[in-house]
């Protein structure tokens, strides 16, 4: 009963947000003369196996991005720079892996380390600026995004070779590739082998945040910086650590695709994942399971939108509109639900104390909390 109610409250906000976003999207479609019926028919039809695999792949990448953003959010740090960190890290990783300093799997493992270090280093610039000079990480990471994009393009031109329309880095030796997982039959694509990274990162995120001292310090700083300081947390150090951690997670984003499909870094690298990660983290409330849900929803919407143009004659861009509206709605919905929950809890505290009698020792008898 208790758990049911709690779960219902947790799910209420995102469900509400998605429903409202759906309604608003339908209104937009109606206004411009497109058919909402056709839209929903395409969107809600069960995806083919090929699409399912794409959804899982996209979701795993979005999930890593969402985790990277969530680490910052949990500490009230706005790391907008996941995109830049991801680009720098993936590029560095591709360069390193192609050198094949180590054989086979060792090369893969070392490359993942390099990617995390590169992402952390790029995020570290913003952290150092914030701690030593008080530069807001919002500003610095936005700037660093622009620099990252241009710098990687510049370096790619210097180090890469032309392949058709694009410029790519040297290809990773085949012994270091990570084969896909043939999860579903009759699908031309496989699930990224390194999608497992998302699972590992999610578990690690949960354990570190909820079960370790470091995680407690991080959450305490996010909950109340002044209380954290009074409790002995060195906030500057926490800013550095959490930005590095966020950057390291951002470094993982490009790995599944690098080792699974592209095997090099090219100018056609998927863009915007870093920003989508912020939305996914918001949707999932910075909670590891929530982010997973958010990533799956976003991946589902993107994948299902692909045939919209052919089947329903609707431009697939509408789905980006819907994703944006979902995020806006979810922010509002969480606030509404939070206030409701606070009231419920206060009431249950009052009830419990009333029941124990005004002079009774309400403390000694532990009662059920109903909120």
């Amino acid at each position: 009963m208790n758990i049911l109610r709690r779960t219902a409250l947790v799910l209420a906000a995102p469900v509400l947000a998605i429903v409202v976003a759906g309604v608003l999207t339908s209104i937009v479609l109606l206004t411009v003369g497109d058919s909402p019926a056709a839209f929903w028919e395409t969107m809600l039809s069960w995806p083919e196996n090929r699409s399912l695999v794409n959804i899982i792949n996209e979701a795993s990448v979005l999930y890593l991005s969402g985790l990277a953003a969530a680490v910052g959010f949990r500490m009230n740090l706005f790391n907008i720079g996941v995109e830049g960190q991801y680009r720098v890290a993936t590029f560095a990783a591709a360069l390193f892996a192609a050198q094949a300093f180590l054989p086979g799997v060792l090369n893969t493992v070392a490359t993942i380390m390099v990617a995390m270090l590169a992402g952390a280093a790029w995020a570290g610039i913003a952290a150092v600026l914030r701690v030593t000079r008080g530069v807001s990480e919002v500003i610095s990471t936005i700037m660093l995004n622009a620099i990252a994009v241009s710098m990687v393009a510049y370096l790619l031109r210097k180090t890469g070779s032309r392949e058709g329309q694009t410029i790519v880095t040297d290809t990773i030796p085949e012994s270091s590739w990570v084969p896909g997982i043939p999860l579903l039959p009759d699908s031309v694509t496989d699930v990224y082998g390194l999608a497992i990274l998302a699972v590992i990162a999610g578990i690690a995120f949960s354990v570190v945040l909820n079960r370790t001292r470091f995680g407690f310090d991080l959450r305490a700083t996010g909950g109340s910086e002044s209380a954290a300081v009074a409790s002995g947390v060195n906030v500057k150090r926490m800013v550095i650590y959490s930005m590095l951690l966020s950057g390291a997670l951002a470094g993982l984003i490009g790995m599944p695709n690098l080792f699974g499909v592209s095997h090099n870094y090219g100018s056609t690298i998927q863009t915007g994942i870093g920003f989508a990660g912020i939305a996914v983290a918001l949707l999932g409330r910075n909670h590891p399971l929530g982010i997973a849900g958010g990533a799956l929803i976003f991946a589902y919407l993107s994948e299902q939108a692909n045939p919209l143009g052919i089947l329903a004659g609707i431009s697939p861009e509408i789905i980006a509109v819907m994703q944006g509206v979902v995020v806006l709605c979810v922010v509002i919905a969480y606030e509404v639900v939070r206030r409701y929950r606070d009231r419920l809890e206060q009431r249950s505290v009052a009830e419990a104390l009333d029941a124990s009698g005004p002079s009774g020792s309400g403390g000694s008898s532990t009662k059920e909390v109903t909120a």
Binding site: T212, A220, G363
Partner: protein
């Protein structure tokens, strides 16, 4: 809306059988109150006794579930504050509602432009009221240039300008320093002389006895009794509020040892503008000793505490804990070596409001058993110890999974005290440990401090409650503008002497003549708490 017609001899305000329920809480029940016209009527009660709710009902902010309100002989029903104002009822809130960048005149006419316009007629009216009650306010002065006392007078003027003759003052002295309290009381007497009726909410009993003609006591949401100030002693009044025998903060026998726990030497602290916040601060605290620091707020107490706890780095000087120089240590290192800290602002510095109680048990103890094991959080240990605190310190909560925000101020504070006493600290830095806490919780906190002192705890006690300071401390120092200006023996010192030193008057002069000493909140009984609660937030 009923017409207001003045009935001669009728009560200005008469409430009968007022009840108000919020979900799960009864805020008021069967409240009856009779306010004679042209008097100051005080409403006293502990935090949460229902004073504020009652006044909100009278001012039309809340609607009562039952009962009747009669104003000047006519039964009324208010659905908004503007209804109340129409019947001549105005309210001055504890937190001022003024626009700093506007002038006095602009603030007063804001929202009441229809009365006298916004020009010379309004200015003349503001001036007339100001002169009639000796408010000494210039209509064209900017509010941001005014002191706290003057701002409060602007608030009162606002209410008078709108034609109120029944004025509710919600804890008006909470924000004032003693001199300003005296000035306010002069204004209030002036208002009364002109035939206005004043409803004065407070829990500072000495003030209530000084100004009120009638005192109504509220306890647990209902009116207990109405008394005359000269019929009851302060002690009796306090007992009426609490409904039980009052605790006293006094400690029995000295437990001071000669083992030094804290030694602060020549501490200096300058702020970012280069002003000296702390100068030449030196003191020692021994095991089993409570050192009390008295002072008007804002004279360096906060900074002193933060320097001892390690939240700010002193400009020069040293801090030693058990003969070890810890000046360069951070807060965590100092806490690990046995410093407990009860912060002055529990919401900002003492709690994670949105985290459950058991997680709050870990706060400040992130590196110590039983809340952690190595780098890991020990959930079971933290939960078990949170249960222990809830039990031992009588924290009224449904359980340890309740968020800290949901608890009342007193219970939050008891939890903090319990937490900071955990793990046998050797030094407790207690900043206003019973501020904004009801009498029951206050007594419990005092007991715990005394008990720990007996076991050899050294305590640095900062408080605005002089009785608490005198009662708990083994020695007393007075701080003024960042310097220690006097040492006192709590066994012999009087609140007047302390008050004189706090405000910078010479102790010898002040004891005789009243001016400075009279400003200090003091009790008639040296052993009873006067300032039942200084903070507004419960």
């Amino acid at each position: 809306m009923t017409e207001t017609t003045k009935v001669a001899g009728a009560a200005a305000v008469s409430l009968s059988g007022i009840g108000k329920r919020f979900p799960g809480v009864i805020a008021n029940h069967d409240v009856s109150l009779e306010v004679r016209p042209g008097t100051v009527h005080a409403l006293v009660g502990e935090n949460g006794a229902g004073k504020s709710t009652l006044m909100k009902i009278l001012y039309g902010v809340q609607k009562p579930d039952e009962g009747t309100i009669v104003v000047n002989g006519a039964t009324v029903q208010f659905s908004s504050p503007s209804d109340a104002i129409k019947h001549g009822i105005g309210m001055v809130f504890q937190h001022f509602q003024l626009a700093d960048n506007l002038t006095v005149l602009e603030n007063v006419v804001l929202g009441a432009e229809k009365l006298h316009g916004i020009g010379d007629k309004a200015r003349a009216e503001v001036r007339r009221i100001s002169e009639a009650y000796r408010f000494e306010l210039d209509p064209d002065e900017l509010v941001e240039d005014l002191g706290v006392g003057e701002r409060q007078r602007v608030e009162i003027l606002k209410v008078l300008y709108r034609g109120a003759s029944i004025i509710i003052l919600d804890e008006p002295t909470a924000v004032l320093v003693p001199q300003e309290v005296d000035a306010l009381f002069d204004n209030l007497r002036e208002l009364k002389r002109e035939g206005n009726t004043l409803l004065f909410i407070s829990h500072k009993l000495d003030e209530v006895r000084a100004i009120a003609d009638d005192i109504t006591v509220l306890r647990r949401g209902t009116t207990v009794t109405t008394v005359k100030p000269d019929e009851v002693s302060q002690h009796q009044l306090a007992e009426l509020m609490v409904g039980e025998e009052l605790p006293s903060p006094s400690t029995a026998e000295s437990t001071v040892t000669d083992r030094e726990v804290l030694e602060v030497r020549d501490l200096q602290l300058t702020d970012s503008l280069g002003r000296a916040v702390l100068s030449d601060i030196s003191f020692k605290i021994h095991a089993g000793e409570v050192l009390g620091i008295a002072g008007v707020e804002g004279n360096g107490q906060t900074e002193l505490v933060e320097a001892v706890v390690g939240m700010v780095k002193p400009t020069s000087g040293t801090v030693e804990l058990s003969d070890e120089d810890v000046t360069s240590w951070g807060t965590r290192d100092r806490r690990e070596s046995g410093v407990g800290y009860i912060p002055e602002d529990r919401h900002r510095h003492g709690l994670l409001l949105d985290a459950p109680l058991w997680e709050n048990r870990i706060l400040g103890h992130q590196t110590r058993e039983p809340s952690v094991k190595g780098p890991w959080i020990n959930r079971d240990g933290a939960r078990k110890d949170a249960e222990r605190i809830v039990e031992q310190y009588d924290v009224r909560t449904p359980g340890i999974d309740t968020t800290a925000r949901a608890l009342s101020g007193g219970n939050q504070q008891k939890f903090i005290v319990g937490r900071e006493m955990s793990g046998e600290p050797k030094l407790l830095v207690a900043s206003h440990p019973t501020r904004g806490v009801d009498v029951g919780a206050q007594a419990a906190i005092w007991d715990h401090i005394r008990e720990a002192r007996r076991r050899g705890l050294a305590v640095l006690l900062i408080s605005a409650d002089l009785d608490e300071l005198i009662g708990l401390s083994d020695s007393l120092k007075v701080i003024l503008r960042g310097r220690f200006v006097g040492d006192f023996d709590p066994k012999t010192v009087t609140p007047q002497q302390l008050g004189a030193a706090m405000t910078g008057a010479q102790a010898t002069e002040a004891t005789g003549s009243g001016q400075q000493a009279g400003n200090v909140r003091r009790s008639d009984h040296g052993d009873g708490p006067t300032d039942l609660s200084t903070g507004g937030d419960a």
